[in-house]
Each structure stands twice: as structure tokens, then as C-alpha cells.
């Protein structure tokens, strides 16, 4: 293959990574923005989405498309419910203290991963894509499902944006983000907003997990890389800014696709983690963030 098509393939792969990453990172960013909670268990929610998608696809009879749609509906809701429970039982009692919640979500991460290992097992299992359709480009064929993932992620993010800016619930969430004390004074039930935000963030991660599972298999340790990459995206995009998160997801996903096709992935990851550390040290508001 010549260089041009090779680069195109790398960019397309990068676009798929960006789409999944943007969904997961939007959840992380939302939780951080509204609640000021750094959710270390975010990657575990992503993994749970994928594993539950496998479980649903295994137990729901019928054609792959039906099973996949069932998984798309059930897995994020189940994960969101779990996250809501974790919020009520743990985070709320810690009064959302930033450092205590990090320790608690690390504990949550360990418990979820161990539960997945014990109940689901150490194997990686595939889920069949809802449709088999290949686009034939002049140079190579490309999976239609991957393009569907990009489209679906774009639609979900658009819906999220509309929800945050155009609905009353979104307005309430933004009000809580700006000033939780004043929001409470205006009669907003901040506890419920927090629970909903945490559930929504976890649901977005789980949705990303469901979308990725037909491409890469479900495995109990699969949450590590998305967690790290989501952190990178959220930090570079500016903590708590959805628009910055989206731009950063595109930049990171595309460059990850290109770099890991031409260089070793380990070196790419080393450079990316160091870059993030440096951004946090020298430009804490993020590369695209407007305010501190």
C-alpha cells in the first residue's frame, strides 16, 4: 500500500478511537465539571459496559442486531444504576471531598475489576457486530460498523450538548457546576443532581464500552487504557469543558492512530503521559480551556 492510503487508514482508525474516547471522556469531564470528583473507576464502568454487552448478547436469542440493540439499551442503564448506588452509598457520605473520593473510587475500581474477573473470567470474548457490511475503497475494504460507531458517538455527543444547553435539567446541572451553594439556595436538590450526573457519566462510559466491544473483545482489564486516555483528553481539553474535551479527543485519537501505526505504541504512550503531566504543571487550565 502506498503512503497516502496508509495514512488514510491510520486516520480512519484514529477517528474510531477518537469517537469512543470522546464518549468516555465526556462522561469523565461531566463528572469532574459538575461534581469536582475525579472518578478513577471510570475505566471500570467502561469495562462493565463491554462485559454486560457480551452477557446480554449471549443470553438474548435472535439475530445479532437484536441482541446488540438490547445490549445498547440495557448495559448503560445497568451501569448507570450501579453508579447511582455508589454515589448514594459512598461518595455522598464523603461529602465529595476531592481526595477522599479518589481513594474511594480506587477502591471501587478494584472491587469492580475483581468482580468481573470472578464472575466473567480472565478470557477475552467477542460480540458479533450488528451488521456485516464492508465499504470497498479503491485501496482497501473498511468495516462499515466502525463508521457506524463514529456516527453513533457523534449523535450521542450532539444529544448530550443539546441536553446540557437546551433543557431545564441541563440548566440545573450547569447551575450546580457554577455554584453549588447558590443552587441549593434556589431550591435545587443538589444531591439528586450529583447522583444523576454520576450515573450519566458512568452511562456514557458504558455506552462507549458497548460500542467498542464488536471491534475489540470484552476483557476484565480493558478499562485501563481508556481511563488513562480519558484523563489525558480531559486534562488537555481543560477540566470540565465539554467542547475542549471533544477537540482533545479528536487530537489524541487521531495522533494515537497515526503514531501507533508508524512508531511503537509504548513510546507513544510514554510521550503522551509526560505531555499531560507537563500540561498540568505549566498550563493547569488545559490547552483549550479558557478559564482556570
Amino acid at each position: 500500500m502506498a503512503f497516502g492510503p496508509f495514512l488514510l487508514l491510520a486516520l480512519m482508525e484514529g477517528l474510531v478511537t477518537s469517537a469512543v474516547l470522546a464518549l468516555a471522556a465526556a462522561g469523565l469531564s461531566l463528572v469532574f465539571g459538575v461534581m469536582r470528583v475525579v472518578n478513577v473507576a471510570h475505566g471500570a464502568f467502561f469495562m462493565l459496559g463491554a462485559v454486560l454487552a457480551w452477557a446480554v448478547a449471549t443470553f438474548v436469542p435472535g439475530p445479532p442486531a437484536v441482541a446488540f440493540i438490547a445490549a445498547l439499551a440495557i448495559a448503560p442503564l445497568a451501569v448507570a444504576a450501579l453508579a447511582a448506588a455508589a454515589d448514594g452509598l459512598i461518595l455522598k457520605r464523603l461529602d465529595y471531598d476531592p481526595e477522599a473520593t479518589i481513594v474511594a473510587t480506587i477502591g471501587l475500581l478494584y472491587m469492580i475489576e475483581q468482580a468481573a474477573l470472578s464472575l466473567y473470567g480472565p478470557n477475552a470474548n467477542p460480540v458479533q457486530a450488528p451488521f456485516e457490511w464492508r465499504i470497498q475503497l479503491p485501496w482497501f475494504g473498511y468495516s462499515g460498523y466502525k463508521l457506524f460507531v463514529v456516527l453513533a458517538a457523534a449523535l450521542v455527543l450532539l444529544a448530550l450538548w443539546a441536553f446540557m444547553t437546551r433543557t431545564k435539567a441541563g440548566l440545573i446541572m450547569r447551575a450546580t457546576q457554577v455554584d453549588r451553594t447558590t443552587a441549593r439556595a434556589f431550591g435545587i436538590n443538589v444531591d439528586r443532581v450529583y447522583m444523576g450526573t454520576f450515573a450519566l457519566g458512568a452511562g456514557l462510559a458504558a455506552l462507549a464500552g458497548v460500542l467498542i466491544v464488536p471491534i475489540s473483545q470484552a476483557h476484565y482489564l480493558m478499562g485501563g487504557d481508556p481511563l488513562l486516555l480519558s484523563f489525558i483528553v480531559v486534562i488537555i481539553g481543560g477540566l470540565g469543558s465539554l467542547r475542549g474535551t471533544l477537540i482533545a479527543a479528536l487530537v489524541i485519537g487521531l495522533s494515537d492512530g497515526v503514531i501507533s501505526m508508524f512508531f511503537t505504541p509504548t513510546l507513544a504512550k510514554i510521550l503522551a503521559t509526560l505531555l499531560v503531566a507537563m500540561v498540568l504543571v505549566f498550563r493547569p487550565q488545559g490547552l483549550f480551556g479558557a478559564k482556570a
Binding site: 477502591g107 472491587m111 475483581q114 503531566a277 493547569p284
Partner: protein, 310 residues
Amino acid sequence: MKVWLLHLVLIAALFAAQFLLSPYHATNLARIMVLAVFAMGYNLAFGYTGLLSLGHALLFAAGMYAAGLSAQILGLTAGPALILGILGGGLLAAAVGLLALRTAGVSFMIVTLMFAQAGYLTILYFGATTGGDEGFTLPAASRSIAGFDLSTDTPRFLAALALFGAGLLASLAIVRSPFGRTMVAIRENEERSRMLGYNPFAIKLAALVISGLYVGAAGAAYALLFGYAGASFATIQYSILPMLYVLLGGAGTTLGPFLGAALMFALIEAASGLTSAYLFFVGAALVALVLFAPKGILGTIRERWVKWLP
């Protein structure tokens, strides 16, 4: 006076323990003492200075590889290798601190986490030298100090005890010194200590470097006493473990790190007899601690009953 006596009694009790315990349990106790040195270093940064780092595995691995690789490649014996390990931990702590201490709170946690992750990946990247995930066993010739073979039970136990005892007494001296008081002052109110004329950045950096010396010593000792160095010791898990020990035993208490390491070791030992799902207990312990006992065991005891506990 009774504070020093209490610490000396603990060291004496540990010395006596080797005659009472089976070789298996004595080796476990030696392991606990080395991990306790790791936790004591973490405690000086987190418990006393309020620096919640998620990257101490980097310093542990620095000590481990500085000692392990110098033994493997240069053929050094345990004494010089340990010194290199201590220096490795301290130097890396200084480098990380100079950058990471420009941030605070959550950013500090993430920056240290990222540095540790980069360190772990670097070990994997140079897998030809470091052995990557597989790691390497240290040459038997290097595992001796002053003619004693550290791979046999008694010298190993005594070496671990000597390191632990020295670390414990040094940490007691540090926290009771004027410098230790300023560390606590920074933890409690950084702005006020700045107003009183202290330089918080310099004090935090010094605390982090001391912490790095401890953690480097623990990493080097772990490699030299148990004969193995591997990339798994640089993973995030080994940044979480000392935090868990310190939280369990009591952050900001001199004896807490040892108590936490011993209890957690025993808990995991007991749990892994019942089920292979021991990580679940680690997670549950973390959640339970922050929820119900944020001050840890000794922290609670100090608050309620024994006020003089350091």
C-alpha cells in the same frame, strides 16, 4: 521519653519474634518490615506533609532498579547497591517534586500518577535491559553484605529489621524535630505558614525527597533481600498499597505504617486462603477506611485515648 521507649520496645519485640516464628512466617515478617519502610516514606509525604501522591511506585521502582541493575551489570554487592537505591529514590523524588509541587491537590495526584505511569512504560520500553514484565533475578553473589548471605533466613531477617529500625527511629526524630513541625504546619494551613515566613515549596520538596530516600531504600532492600526485580513493582498498584497501609494504620502516626502493612498483609494472606479474589478485599478496605475510619487505627486511638502517641 516513653515515646522513644515504645518504639525501642517494638524493635526489640520484632527482634525476639524471629526466634518464635517459623521460617515461613519470619520471611513474611521481613517482607512486612520492608513494606513498612515503603509506607513510612509515604507517610512522611502524605501523613505529615499532606502530599497525596499516587506515584510512589515510581520511587520504589527507582530504588529497586538502581540496586538491581547495579548488582546485575556492575556486580556490586548489597551495601553499595542499597546506597545507590536510596540515592535513586531521593534523586527521582527531587526531579518529580520540582515539577509536580507546582501543582496541588487533585492536580498533584494526577501529575504524580502520570509520572509513575511514564516510569512504568519506560521500564517496559527498555525491556532488553530491565526484563520488562518478566523482570530478572539478582545474581546470588550480589546478595551479601559484610560476608553475610542475604538469601538465607537469619541475615535476611536481621537486615530487614536493621533497615526498619533505623527508618522508624529516623522518622520519629524527623517528626519531632522543628522541621517535622513545619511539615505538619504546611499540611494544616499552607497559607498561614507562608505568612509566618516559611517557604512551603522548599519544605514540601524536602519532605518529598526524604520520602523518596525511604521509598528508594525499601525498593532496593526488596530487590536485594528477596532477589527479584520486575516491572510489576512500578504499576499503579504499588502506589496504592503504601497509601492503603498508611490509611489503615493511621496517617500521621509513626507506628501506623508498620501496623497497616502488617494487618493488610495478614488480611490478604487470610483472604487468599479462602478465595483468589483478594483484590476485592483491598478495594473494600479502601472504601471502608475512607468512609468509617479516615484517621486509621492509631489515628483514632490517639484522638480518643492516647494523646501522647507521636
